[in-house]
């Protein structure tokens, strides 16, 4: 089992160079069939109920593709970054294996307590030389993964990275020289979108009030920060 070293430097999550990559089609909510195929294969290969392509942003982790999430997280497509396990894959720039989160005090508690998350296996996703997220599988039972499954996940992460790279190149973020302020304002807007998506799904009757409140519990930081 991996423990998060207390010395892990999380400041690299906020590096301008890394956040600049999170732009254009990478942060769109439109489904991407290629990334969807990756998460479906990841779940099937490992027999885990949940698989995600999670992009770790400035405030949230954004689920660019997912399978197996409960309805409210499917609607939000995000949790607070500080609640995520994927932040450690990005900050550490290496895979993270958690066989049982229950007894691991080095991990954030929100997802463990609200959603009963126990097992997590995540592999880095890289775009433009930056680690932007994690391909991960998640279960509510304590689990182990055989070496063959871990290798398969590593290969799928490479496939997801290649697809993300292709999406990013269509945007040509580096060549157009957009100002930092403009990019940050746009990222802030995109990262608050989960709050609105939840409200929208609640308004349409697709989420109950308890489901809405549960999802807001893992977006409390975003919600509170935005309110200030």
């Amino acid at each position: 089992m991996s423990r998060i070293p207390s010395t892990m430097d999380l400041s690299r999550l906020d590096s301008d160079a890394r956040l600049r990559v999170l732009d254009g089609p990478l942060m769109e909510r439109t489904p991407d069939p290629a990334l969807q195929a990756v998460v479906e294969e990841a779940a099937r290969t490992t027999d885990f109920p949940i698989a995600l392509v999670s992009l770790v942003g400035s405030r949230i982790q954004f689920f660019r593709a997912q399978v197996g999430l409960p309805p409210e997280l499917e609607a939000a497509r995000a949790t607070d970054r500080c609640s995520s396990f994927c932040q450690f894959v990005v900050a550490g720039e290496r895979p993270l294996q958690v066989e049982d989160a229950e007894g691991d005090p080095s991990l954030p508690r929100e997802l463990v307590e609200r959603y009963g998350i126990r097992a997590y296996f995540g592999f880095p996703l890289r775009v433009g030389g930056q680690t932007v997220g994690s391909l991960c599988v998640i279960d509510v039972r304590a689990r182990q993964l055989a070496a063959g499954s871990l290798e398969a996940l590593a290969r799928l992460a490479e496939r997801a990275s290649a697809r993300l790279e292709s999406l990013a190149s269509s945007w040509a973020f580096a060549s157009l020289g957009e100002g930092d302020r403009a990019h940050r304002a746009w990222l802030e807007l995109v990262e608050r979108q989960p709050l609105l998506s939840l409200s929208e799904q609640f308004s349409r009757g697709a989420l109950s009030l308890p489901e809405l409140q549960r999802a807001l519990g893992v977006l409390a930081h975003l919600s509170g920060e935005a309110e200030k």
């Binding site: 957009e178 403009a182 802030e188 807007l189 995109v190 939840l198 009757g205």
Partner: protein, 151 residues
């Protein structure tokens, strides 16, 4: 409160028209259309803050605790998003024309979602606490999926 909701519905219509004009504009002309859109959205936000205040007061007066919870969540989420939209629109200077149009699509979608949430949930919630005639069918809150009867 009824008059305020009527005014807001008209302003929503106006905003949707402006959004349509922005979406139809050529990339080189889009920037010029965004000024009026921002002004209208800003004025609308101010009217909504007034409505939320009034709605909060009537929910409290009627002892509608569930309504207060819903009102609190939806108001916070829509206002937070509105602030982000306005902040984006105040920082257009560094955005090349080639980026502006795709970025604007995200903004337009967010604006429409804000209007949608308010019309589907907040206005009906306010109307429940007035002696108003029933809201039009498209403004009534949709029941949760577990309460729907299969056709």
């Amino acid at each position: 409160m009824l008059a305020l909701i009527d005014t807001l519905r008209q302003e929503h219509q106006r905003l949707r028209q402006l959004l349509g004009q922005c979406e139809a504009a050529a990339p080189s002309q889009l920037r010029g259309h965004l000024g009026p859109l921002r002004e209208t959205f800003l004025a609308l936000k101010s009217s909504k803050e007034r409505l939320y205040g009034e709605a909060d007061a009537v929910c409290r007066a009627d002892g509608d605790e569930n309504g207060l919870i819903v009102l609190g969540i939806l108001c916070r989420n829509t206002l937070v998003m509105s602030d982000a939209i306005l902040s984006f629109m105040a920082n257009l200077d560094g955005i090349p024309d080639a980026h502006l149009q795709p970025r604007f699509r995200t903004v337009a979608q967010a604006m429409r979602s804000v209007l949608d949430v308010e019309e589907r949930s907040l206005f009906p919630l306010c109307l429940r606490h007035t002696a108003a005639p029933p809201a039009p069918a498209d403004a009534r809150p949709v029941p949760h999926r577990s309460q729907r009867v299969a056709p």
